[in-house]
Subunit: 121 residues, 2 copies
């Protein structure tokens, strides 16, 4: 068994072969809103979360704190309907374009990136 | 000494206190082009890389492979002039808005996210 590949996933092997996972078997997932172009959040996926995202059309992550799959919106209703998914050049980050229902952030804000360290010039 | 805080940084302690670093002392940095809104790349920063980014206005990362600070563009000329920086709600990801000189990706493409796994609907 290869290190960092979770068993039992149905992810297309041709895609799985292009992923470069971290020590926890995860790749980063950057989420961008289709209509506005706003970057909403970043979360993490293992192979199976990516498989579910690609096949169900609902953004599905691996929760590092809860150690479980997490369909974004399953409890909040704030689902992310996935329009496209791209992988970066070194295989360790995904970019999702989504239609976001409600607020993306669990704090209730549109985007998770609301703590401004340097304001726009 | 606190775990995961690199010594010798001059990062504002008020900002440093809000970062939630991974086991390597790093936070993710998502880079977005100001003019187009395109997501260009993802890289990593430690406290000092963030300090240098905020104070020089040039995006500066920590290279995990080379184990050194990396001013984006220092060798390629493809500098990133930083307009704004925001931190996400759980402190482990930054969003930079930049003016990008040339191609963001080392492969020569505009964005690193050019491997389409699911095409836009």
């Amino acid at each position: 068994m290869r290190k960092n590949v979770r068993v039992g996933t149905h992810l297309d092997p041709a895609i799985a072969a292009r992923l470069r996972r971290n020590d926890d078997g995860l790749v980063a997932a950057i989420v961008r809103e289709h209509g506005t172009g706003d970057v909403l959040m970043m979360a993490w996926m293992d192979d199976e979360a990516l498989h579910r995202t690609l096949t169900t059309g609902l953004a599905t992550y691996w929760s590092r704190s809860r150690k479980e799959y997490w369909v974004k919106g399953a409890t909040s209703g704030h689902y992310q309907h996935v329009r496209s998914v791209a992988l970066d050049c070194d295989g360790d980050a995904l970019l999702l374009s989504v239609d976001q229902e409600g607020a993306a952030c669990h704090t209730g804000t549109h985007s998770c990136f609301s703590d401004v360290l340097k304001a726009a010039e």
